[in-house]
Protein backbone atom coordinates (compact mmCIF):
# COMPACT_ATOMS: atom_id res chain seq x y z
CA UNK A 1 0.00 0.00 0.00
CA UNK A 2 2.79 2.28 0.96
CA UNK A 3 4.39 1.48 -2.38
CA UNK A 4 1.19 2.31 -4.21
CA UNK A 5 1.30 5.63 -2.41
CA UNK A 6 4.87 6.21 -3.50
CA UNK A 7 4.05 5.39 -7.10
CA UNK A 8 0.92 7.55 -7.00
CA UNK A 9 2.56 10.51 -5.33
CA UNK A 10 5.45 10.19 -7.77
CA UNK A 11 3.09 10.00 -10.73
CA UNK A 12 2.63 12.89 -13.07
CA UNK A 13 -1.13 13.26 -12.70
CA UNK A 14 -0.88 13.67 -8.93
CA UNK A 15 1.67 16.44 -9.27
CA UNK A 16 0.56 18.18 -12.45
CA UNK A 17 -0.09 21.88 -12.06
CA UNK A 18 -2.24 23.95 -14.36
CA UNK A 19 0.82 25.84 -15.53
CA UNK A 20 2.63 22.65 -16.52
CA UNK A 21 -0.37 21.41 -18.44
CA UNK A 22 -0.63 24.72 -20.26
CA UNK A 23 3.09 24.70 -21.09
CA UNK A 24 2.80 21.17 -22.46
CA UNK A 25 0.07 22.50 -24.72
CA UNK A 26 2.43 25.28 -25.78
CA UNK A 27 5.03 22.62 -26.59
CA UNK A 28 2.56 20.69 -28.70
CA UNK A 29 1.54 23.86 -30.55
CA UNK A 30 5.18 24.61 -31.28
CA UNK A 31 5.59 21.08 -32.63
CA UNK A 32 2.56 21.56 -34.83
CA UNK A 33 3.94 24.82 -36.19
CA UNK A 34 7.37 23.27 -36.75
CA UNK A 35 6.30 20.01 -38.34
CA UNK A 36 3.12 20.92 -40.18
CA UNK A 37 3.76 24.57 -40.94
CA UNK A 38 7.51 24.34 -41.42
CA UNK A 39 8.37 27.02 -38.83
CA UNK A 40 12.18 26.72 -38.52
CA UNK A 41 11.86 23.10 -37.45
CA UNK A 42 15.57 22.59 -36.79
CA UNK A 43 15.30 24.73 -33.68
CA UNK A 44 11.62 24.62 -32.84
CA UNK A 45 11.36 20.82 -32.67
CA UNK A 46 14.09 20.55 -30.01
CA UNK A 47 12.74 23.62 -28.19
CA UNK A 48 9.26 22.10 -28.16
CA UNK A 49 10.52 18.77 -26.84
CA UNK A 50 12.53 20.65 -24.24
CA UNK A 51 9.31 22.43 -23.25
CA UNK A 52 7.46 19.15 -22.89
CA UNK A 53 10.22 17.50 -20.88
CA UNK A 54 10.88 20.36 -18.50
CA UNK A 55 7.19 20.51 -17.64
CA UNK A 56 6.90 16.83 -16.81
CA UNK A 57 5.87 17.09 -13.16
CA UNK A 58 8.46 15.63 -10.82
CA UNK A 59 10.88 14.45 -13.47
CA UNK A 60 13.58 16.83 -12.24
CA UNK A 61 15.07 17.66 -15.62
CA UNK A 62 16.18 21.02 -14.29
CA UNK A 63 17.42 19.85 -10.91
CA UNK A 64 20.90 20.94 -9.93
CA UNK A 65 23.27 18.26 -8.67
CA UNK A 66 23.55 17.91 -4.90
CA UNK A 67 26.88 17.48 -3.13
CA UNK A 68 27.45 16.54 0.48
CA UNK A 69 29.68 18.55 2.80
CA UNK A 70 32.76 16.61 1.69
CA UNK A 71 32.09 17.54 -1.91
CA UNK A 72 30.89 14.13 -3.06
CA UNK A 73 27.99 13.93 -5.46
CA UNK A 74 24.93 12.66 -3.65
CA UNK A 75 22.41 13.20 -6.40
CA UNK A 76 23.20 14.01 -10.02
CA UNK A 77 21.49 16.94 -11.71
CA UNK A 78 18.87 16.64 -14.41
CA UNK A 79 19.76 16.48 -18.08
CA UNK A 80 18.47 19.98 -18.80
CA UNK A 81 20.53 21.40 -15.98
CA UNK A 82 23.73 20.10 -17.54
CA UNK A 83 22.77 21.19 -21.04
CA UNK A 84 21.79 24.69 -19.95
CA UNK A 85 24.73 25.31 -17.63
CA UNK A 86 27.26 23.70 -19.95
CA UNK A 87 26.21 25.15 -23.25
CA UNK A 88 23.95 28.15 -22.84
CA UNK A 89 24.99 29.87 -19.61
CA UNK A 90 28.56 29.64 -20.88
CA UNK A 91 27.55 30.99 -24.30
CA UNK A 92 29.29 28.09 -26.07
CA UNK A 93 26.35 26.69 -28.03
CA UNK A 94 25.26 29.89 -29.80
CA UNK A 95 28.90 30.62 -30.63
CA UNK A 96 29.42 27.18 -32.16
CA UNK A 97 26.21 27.56 -34.15
CA UNK A 98 27.44 30.93 -35.36
CA UNK A 99 30.70 29.33 -36.49
CA UNK A 100 28.72 26.81 -38.50
CA UNK A 101 26.53 29.53 -40.00
CA UNK A 102 29.70 31.38 -40.96
CA UNK A 103 30.94 28.24 -42.71
CA UNK A 104 27.67 28.15 -44.64
CA UNK A 105 27.74 31.82 -45.62
CA UNK A 106 28.95 33.08 -48.97
CA UNK A 107 30.06 36.70 -48.84
CA UNK A 108 30.52 36.81 -52.63
CA UNK A 109 27.43 38.91 -53.41
CA UNK A 110 28.26 41.31 -50.59
CA UNK A 111 31.83 41.71 -51.81
CA UNK A 112 30.63 42.38 -55.33
CA UNK A 113 28.47 45.23 -54.09
CA UNK A 114 29.70 46.34 -50.66
CA UNK A 115 27.39 49.35 -50.36
CA UNK A 116 24.56 46.93 -49.66
CA UNK A 117 26.16 46.69 -46.20
CA UNK A 118 24.24 49.91 -45.46
CA UNK A 119 20.97 48.07 -45.95
CA UNK A 120 22.07 45.56 -43.35
CA UNK A 121 22.59 48.52 -41.05
CA UNK A 122 19.25 50.20 -41.73
CA UNK A 123 17.26 47.05 -41.02
CA UNK A 124 18.66 46.97 -37.48
CA UNK A 125 16.54 50.04 -36.74
CA UNK A 126 13.81 47.56 -35.93
CA UNK A 127 15.90 46.30 -33.02
CA UNK A 128 16.36 49.66 -31.37
CA UNK A 129 12.86 50.97 -32.10
CA UNK A 130 11.58 47.90 -30.31
CA UNK A 131 13.84 48.50 -27.34
CA UNK A 132 12.28 51.95 -27.14
CA UNK A 133 8.83 50.42 -27.41
CA UNK A 134 9.57 47.97 -24.61
CA UNK A 135 10.91 50.59 -22.23
CA UNK A 136 7.91 52.80 -23.06
CA UNK A 137 5.51 49.99 -22.11
CA UNK A 138 7.49 49.70 -18.92
CA UNK A 139 7.56 53.46 -18.30
CA UNK A 140 3.80 53.73 -18.67
CA UNK A 141 3.29 50.78 -16.37
CA UNK A 142 1.59 48.64 -19.00
CA UNK A 143 4.10 45.83 -18.77
CA UNK A 144 7.11 45.41 -16.55
CA UNK A 145 10.32 45.12 -18.56
CA UNK A 146 13.78 45.96 -17.25
CA UNK A 147 16.28 47.57 -19.59
CA UNK A 148 17.99 44.16 -19.86
CA UNK A 149 14.76 42.57 -20.97
CA UNK A 150 14.03 45.41 -23.38
CA UNK A 151 17.40 44.93 -25.04
CA UNK A 152 16.82 41.18 -25.34
CA UNK A 153 13.38 41.73 -26.82
CA UNK A 154 14.76 44.20 -29.34
CA UNK A 155 17.30 41.71 -30.60
CA UNK A 156 14.41 39.53 -31.82
CA UNK A 157 14.23 42.09 -34.63
CA UNK A 158 17.72 41.04 -35.65
CA UNK A 159 16.08 37.97 -37.17
CA UNK A 160 19.02 35.91 -36.11
CA UNK A 161 18.39 33.08 -33.70
CA UNK A 162 21.85 32.41 -32.24
CA UNK A 163 22.46 36.14 -31.72
CA UNK A 164 19.16 36.49 -29.89
CA UNK A 165 19.93 33.48 -27.70
CA UNK A 166 23.48 34.66 -26.97
CA UNK A 167 22.34 38.14 -25.91
CA UNK A 168 19.34 36.99 -23.93
CA UNK A 169 21.23 34.29 -22.05
CA UNK A 170 23.62 37.01 -20.95
CA UNK A 171 21.20 39.84 -20.22
CA UNK A 172 17.87 38.29 -19.26
CA UNK A 173 17.95 34.50 -19.04
CA UNK A 174 14.45 34.33 -17.57
CA UNK A 175 12.85 35.38 -20.84
CA UNK A 176 15.15 33.22 -22.99
CA UNK A 177 12.35 30.82 -23.87
CA UNK A 178 9.95 33.51 -25.06
CA UNK A 179 12.61 35.45 -26.95
CA UNK A 180 13.95 32.38 -28.76
CA UNK A 181 10.49 31.17 -29.68
CA UNK A 182 9.56 34.63 -30.97
CA UNK A 183 12.80 34.98 -32.93
CA UNK A 184 12.49 31.66 -34.70
CA UNK A 185 8.75 31.97 -35.23
CA UNK A 186 9.03 35.35 -36.91
CA UNK A 187 11.97 34.19 -38.99
CA UNK A 188 9.65 31.48 -40.26
CA UNK A 189 6.92 34.07 -40.86
CA UNK A 190 9.14 36.33 -42.97
CA UNK A 191 7.36 35.29 -46.21
CA UNK A 192 4.07 36.42 -44.65
CA UNK A 193 5.19 39.49 -42.70
CA UNK A 194 7.43 41.16 -45.25
CA UNK A 195 5.63 41.25 -48.65
CA UNK A 196 2.74 43.58 -47.64
CA UNK A 197 5.19 46.07 -46.14
CA UNK A 198 7.44 45.85 -49.19
CA UNK A 199 4.54 46.44 -51.55
CA UNK A 200 3.15 49.29 -49.48
CA UNK A 201 6.42 51.21 -49.49
CA UNK A 202 7.37 50.76 -53.17
CA UNK A 203 5.81 51.57 -56.51
CA UNK A 204 5.30 49.02 -59.24
CA UNK A 205 8.05 50.60 -61.32
CA UNK A 206 10.51 50.57 -58.41
CA UNK A 207 9.85 46.88 -57.82
CA UNK A 208 10.57 46.21 -61.51
CA UNK A 209 14.03 47.83 -61.40
CA UNK A 210 16.69 45.59 -62.86
CA UNK A 211 20.07 45.62 -61.18
CA UNK A 212 23.36 45.23 -63.04
CA UNK A 213 24.98 41.83 -62.86
CA UNK A 214 27.38 41.38 -59.95
CA UNK A 215 31.08 41.42 -60.75
CA UNK A 216 33.15 38.30 -60.20
CA UNK A 217 34.85 38.08 -56.82
CA UNK A 218 38.27 36.55 -56.35
CA UNK A 219 39.15 33.86 -53.88
CA UNK A 220 41.62 36.17 -52.13
CA UNK A 221 38.92 38.76 -51.46
CA UNK A 222 36.77 36.08 -49.91
CA UNK A 223 39.60 34.96 -47.67
CA UNK A 224 40.59 38.45 -46.57
CA UNK A 225 37.07 39.74 -45.94
CA UNK A 226 36.32 37.71 -42.77
CA UNK A 227 39.69 38.79 -41.40
CA UNK A 228 38.87 42.41 -42.20
CA UNK A 229 35.57 42.12 -40.33
CA UNK A 230 37.29 40.45 -37.42
CA UNK A 231 40.03 43.09 -37.12
CA UNK A 232 37.48 45.87 -37.37
CA UNK A 233 35.34 44.36 -34.65
CA UNK A 234 38.40 43.91 -32.48
CA UNK A 235 39.21 47.60 -32.83
CA UNK A 236 35.70 49.01 -32.53
CA UNK A 237 33.51 46.80 -30.41
CA UNK A 238 35.18 43.91 -28.56
CA UNK A 239 31.89 42.89 -26.96
CA UNK A 240 30.80 41.73 -30.42
CA UNK A 241 34.05 39.80 -30.91
CA UNK A 242 32.83 36.41 -29.63
CA UNK A 243 29.87 36.32 -32.03
CA UNK A 244 31.59 37.84 -35.05
CA UNK A 245 34.90 36.16 -34.29
CA UNK A 246 33.35 32.72 -34.48
CA UNK A 247 31.29 33.73 -37.50
CA UNK A 248 34.39 34.92 -39.33
CA UNK A 249 36.33 31.82 -38.22
CA UNK A 250 33.67 29.62 -39.78
CA UNK A 251 33.66 31.67 -42.95
CA UNK A 252 37.45 31.61 -43.18
CA UNK A 253 37.45 27.82 -42.84
CA UNK A 254 34.98 27.72 -45.72
CA UNK A 255 36.93 30.00 -48.01
CA UNK A 256 40.52 29.05 -47.09
CA UNK A 257 40.26 25.94 -49.22
CA UNK A 258 42.81 24.09 -47.09
CA UNK A 259 40.63 23.00 -44.16
CA UNK A 260 37.59 21.64 -45.96
CA UNK A 261 37.45 18.76 -43.48
CA UNK A 262 36.89 21.21 -40.64
CA UNK A 263 34.50 23.37 -42.63
CA UNK A 264 32.37 20.38 -43.53
CA UNK A 265 32.22 19.22 -39.94
CA UNK A 266 31.37 22.73 -38.74
CA UNK A 267 28.51 22.84 -41.26
CA UNK A 268 27.20 19.38 -40.55
CA UNK A 269 27.95 17.07 -37.62
CA UNK A 270 28.98 19.81 -35.22
CA UNK A 271 26.22 22.32 -35.92
CA UNK A 272 23.64 19.52 -35.88
CA UNK A 273 24.80 18.18 -32.54
CA UNK A 274 24.83 21.64 -31.01
CA UNK A 275 21.45 22.52 -32.53
CA UNK A 276 19.85 19.54 -30.81
CA UNK A 277 21.22 20.53 -27.41
CA UNK A 278 20.74 24.26 -27.88
CA UNK A 279 17.08 23.65 -28.61
CA UNK A 280 16.64 21.39 -25.59
CA UNK A 281 18.45 23.91 -23.40
CA UNK A 282 16.32 26.81 -24.58
CA UNK A 283 13.25 24.68 -23.98
CA UNK A 284 14.38 24.23 -20.39
CA UNK A 285 13.53 27.90 -19.82
CA UNK A 286 9.96 27.30 -20.98
CA UNK A 287 8.48 26.80 -17.55
CA UNK A 288 5.06 28.15 -16.65
CA UNK A 289 6.30 30.82 -14.26
CA UNK A 290 8.61 32.24 -16.90
CA UNK A 291 6.37 31.94 -19.94
CA UNK A 292 2.73 32.18 -18.88
CA UNK A 293 2.44 35.88 -18.17
CA UNK A 294 1.50 39.08 -19.93
CA UNK A 295 5.14 39.90 -20.57
CA UNK A 296 5.36 36.97 -22.97
CA UNK A 297 2.47 38.37 -24.97
CA UNK A 298 4.30 41.69 -24.96
CA UNK A 299 7.47 39.97 -26.18
CA UNK A 300 5.63 38.30 -29.01
CA UNK A 301 3.92 41.54 -29.98
CA UNK A 302 7.06 43.65 -29.78
CA UNK A 303 9.01 41.05 -31.74
CA UNK A 304 6.53 41.31 -34.60
CA UNK A 305 6.78 45.09 -34.48
CA UNK A 306 10.58 44.81 -34.62
CA UNK A 307 10.41 42.70 -37.77
CA UNK A 308 8.04 45.14 -39.44
CA UNK A 309 10.09 48.21 -38.60
CA UNK A 310 13.31 46.51 -39.67
CA UNK A 311 11.76 45.52 -42.99
CA UNK A 312 10.44 49.00 -43.57
CA UNK A 313 13.73 50.68 -42.66
CA UNK A 314 15.61 48.47 -45.06
CA UNK A 315 13.22 49.15 -47.93
CA UNK A 316 13.19 52.90 -47.27
CA UNK A 317 16.98 53.19 -47.19
CA UNK A 318 17.18 51.16 -50.39
CA UNK A 319 14.76 53.63 -52.01
CA UNK A 320 16.94 56.48 -50.86
CA UNK A 321 20.13 54.80 -52.08
CA UNK A 322 18.52 54.16 -55.44
CA UNK A 323 18.03 57.93 -55.79
CA UNK A 324 21.71 58.71 -55.28
CA UNK A 325 23.39 55.63 -56.70
CA UNK A 326 24.98 55.40 -60.14
CA UNK A 327 23.78 51.87 -60.71
CA UNK A 328 20.10 51.18 -60.05
CA UNK A 329 19.10 49.59 -56.73
CA UNK A 330 15.82 47.75 -56.44
CA UNK A 331 14.29 48.80 -53.11
CA UNK A 332 13.01 45.26 -52.58
CA UNK A 333 16.49 44.07 -51.62
CA UNK A 334 16.36 46.39 -48.59
CA UNK A 335 14.00 44.11 -46.72
CA UNK A 336 16.60 41.33 -46.86
CA UNK A 337 18.73 43.40 -44.49
CA UNK A 338 16.89 41.97 -41.49
CA UNK A 339 18.91 38.76 -42.11
CA UNK A 340 16.72 35.63 -41.65
CA UNK A 341 19.15 34.10 -44.15
CA UNK A 342 18.25 33.02 -46.82
CA UNK A 343 14.48 33.35 -46.41
CA UNK A 344 14.39 37.14 -46.60
CA UNK A 345 16.48 37.17 -49.79
CA UNK A 346 14.10 34.69 -51.35
CA UNK A 347 11.18 36.92 -50.42
CA UNK A 348 12.87 39.86 -52.15
CA UNK A 349 13.34 37.69 -55.21
CA UNK A 350 9.74 36.49 -55.20
CA UNK A 351 8.18 39.93 -54.82
CA UNK A 352 10.53 41.20 -57.52
CA UNK A 353 9.47 38.46 -59.92
CA UNK A 354 5.84 39.46 -59.47
CA UNK A 355 6.63 42.91 -60.82
CA UNK A 356 9.00 41.76 -63.54
CA UNK A 357 9.18 38.07 -64.43
CA UNK A 358 12.72 38.45 -65.77
CA UNK A 359 14.08 40.20 -62.72
CA UNK A 360 16.05 37.83 -60.55
CA UNK A 361 16.99 39.63 -57.33
CA UNK A 362 18.16 36.64 -55.28
CA UNK A 363 21.88 37.24 -55.57
CA UNK A 364 21.50 41.00 -55.18
CA UNK A 365 19.47 40.42 -52.01
CA UNK A 366 22.05 38.03 -50.56
CA UNK A 367 24.37 41.01 -50.00
CA UNK A 368 22.10 42.87 -47.57
CA UNK A 369 20.98 39.52 -46.21
CA UNK A 370 24.40 38.51 -44.90
CA UNK A 371 25.12 42.15 -44.03
CA UNK A 372 22.14 41.89 -41.71
CA UNK A 373 23.87 39.09 -39.81
CA UNK A 374 26.89 41.32 -39.22
CA UNK A 375 24.63 44.26 -38.38
CA UNK A 376 22.67 42.46 -35.72
CA UNK A 377 25.83 40.99 -34.22
CA UNK A 378 27.14 44.55 -33.89
CA UNK A 379 23.84 45.62 -32.35
CA UNK A 380 24.19 42.69 -29.95
CA UNK A 381 27.66 43.88 -29.00
CA UNK A 382 26.34 47.35 -28.22
CA UNK A 383 23.62 45.87 -26.02
CA UNK A 384 26.08 43.72 -24.10
CA UNK A 385 28.49 46.62 -23.70
CA UNK A 386 25.96 49.26 -22.65
CA UNK A 387 23.37 47.28 -20.73
CA UNK A 388 25.14 44.56 -18.85
Amino acid sequence: MENLNILWSDSGIAQLTFGQAAMMLVGLILLYLAIRKGFEPLLLVPIAIGTLLVNVPGAGFEAAPVYDAAGHLTSPGGMMYYIYEGGIATGLFPLIIFMGVGAMTDFGPLLANPKTLLLGAAAQFGIFATVLGAVSLSHFGILDFTINEAASIGIIGGADGPTAIFVTSKLAPDILGAVAVAAYSYMALVPIIQPPIMRALTSESERAIKMVQLRPVSKTEKIVFPLLVLMLVAMVLPSAAPLLGMFCFGNLMREAGVVDRLSDTAQNALINIVTIFLGLGVGSKMSADKFLNWETLGILGLGAVAFCIGTASGVLLAKLMNKFSDSPINPLIGSAGVSAVPMAARVSNKVGLEANPHNHLLMHAMGPNVAGVIGSAIAAGVMISMVQ
Binding site: M104, T105, V341, M363
Partner: protein, 82 residues
Protein backbone atom coordinates in the same frame (compact mmCIF):
# COMPACT_ATOMS: atom_id res chain seq x y z
CA UNK B 1 20.95 60.41 -10.57
CA UNK B 2 19.87 57.17 -12.24
CA UNK B 3 18.58 57.95 -15.67
CA UNK B 4 15.04 56.76 -16.30
CA UNK B 5 14.48 53.60 -18.28
CA UNK B 6 13.16 55.67 -21.20
CA UNK B 7 16.37 57.65 -21.32
CA UNK B 8 18.39 54.46 -21.26
CA UNK B 9 16.30 53.15 -24.14
CA UNK B 10 16.88 56.34 -26.12
CA UNK B 11 20.58 56.15 -25.41
CA UNK B 12 20.65 52.56 -26.60
CA UNK B 13 18.92 53.55 -29.81
CA UNK B 14 21.20 56.51 -30.51
CA UNK B 15 24.46 54.82 -29.73
CA UNK B 16 23.33 51.47 -31.06
CA UNK B 17 22.21 52.67 -34.47
CA UNK B 18 25.19 55.01 -34.52
CA UNK B 19 27.63 52.17 -33.89
CA UNK B 20 25.94 49.89 -36.40
CA UNK B 21 26.03 52.55 -39.13
CA UNK B 22 29.55 53.67 -38.36
CA UNK B 23 30.83 50.10 -38.26
CA UNK B 24 29.21 49.08 -41.50
CA UNK B 25 30.18 52.32 -43.23
CA UNK B 26 33.78 51.82 -42.24
CA UNK B 27 33.45 48.25 -43.43
CA UNK B 28 32.20 49.47 -46.82
CA UNK B 29 35.28 51.60 -47.27
CA UNK B 30 37.51 48.89 -45.89
CA UNK B 31 36.02 46.31 -48.23
CA UNK B 32 36.27 48.59 -51.23
CA UNK B 33 39.89 49.35 -50.40
CA UNK B 34 40.68 45.69 -49.87
CA UNK B 35 39.07 44.71 -53.17
CA UNK B 36 40.93 47.47 -54.98
CA UNK B 37 44.25 46.41 -53.50
CA UNK B 38 43.70 42.76 -54.24
CA UNK B 39 42.42 43.36 -57.76
CA UNK B 40 45.36 45.60 -58.61
CA UNK B 41 48.28 43.97 -56.84
CA UNK B 42 47.17 40.40 -56.21
CA UNK B 43 45.08 39.56 -59.29
CA UNK B 44 43.87 36.03 -59.49
CA UNK B 45 42.06 33.64 -61.66
CA UNK B 46 38.41 34.50 -61.07
CA UNK B 47 36.73 31.62 -59.38
CA UNK B 48 33.07 32.32 -59.80
CA UNK B 49 30.63 34.78 -61.29
CA UNK B 50 29.41 35.94 -57.91
CA UNK B 51 26.45 33.62 -58.33
CA UNK B 52 27.71 30.63 -56.41
CA UNK B 53 25.05 28.14 -57.33
CA UNK B 54 26.75 25.22 -55.74
CA UNK B 55 27.28 26.72 -52.31
CA UNK B 56 24.71 29.50 -52.25
CA UNK B 57 22.70 28.33 -49.30
CA UNK B 58 23.50 29.81 -45.95
CA UNK B 59 20.55 28.07 -44.43
CA UNK B 60 20.95 25.20 -42.04
CA UNK B 61 17.86 23.59 -43.55
CA UNK B 62 19.56 21.82 -46.41
CA UNK B 63 19.77 18.14 -45.65
CA UNK B 64 22.79 17.39 -47.84
CA UNK B 65 25.96 19.34 -47.38
CA UNK B 66 27.50 20.95 -50.42
CA UNK B 67 30.61 18.91 -49.80
CA UNK B 68 28.65 15.69 -49.99
CA UNK B 69 27.05 16.81 -53.20
CA UNK B 70 30.37 17.62 -54.77
CA UNK B 71 31.72 14.24 -53.67
CA UNK B 72 28.78 12.59 -55.34
CA UNK B 73 29.22 14.71 -58.43
CA UNK B 74 32.81 13.56 -58.52
CA UNK B 75 31.75 9.93 -58.19
CA UNK B 76 29.30 10.26 -61.04
CA UNK B 77 31.78 12.16 -63.19
CA UNK B 78 34.41 9.55 -62.52
CA UNK B 79 32.07 6.87 -63.66
CA UNK B 80 31.00 8.76 -66.78
CA UNK B 81 34.61 9.11 -67.81
CA UNK B 82 35.27 5.42 -67.73
Amino acid sequence: MESSIIERGLDLMLFGMGTVFIFLTVLIFGTAAMSAVITRWFPEKVIEAAAPKKRASTSPTMAIAPATLSILQAAVDKHRNR
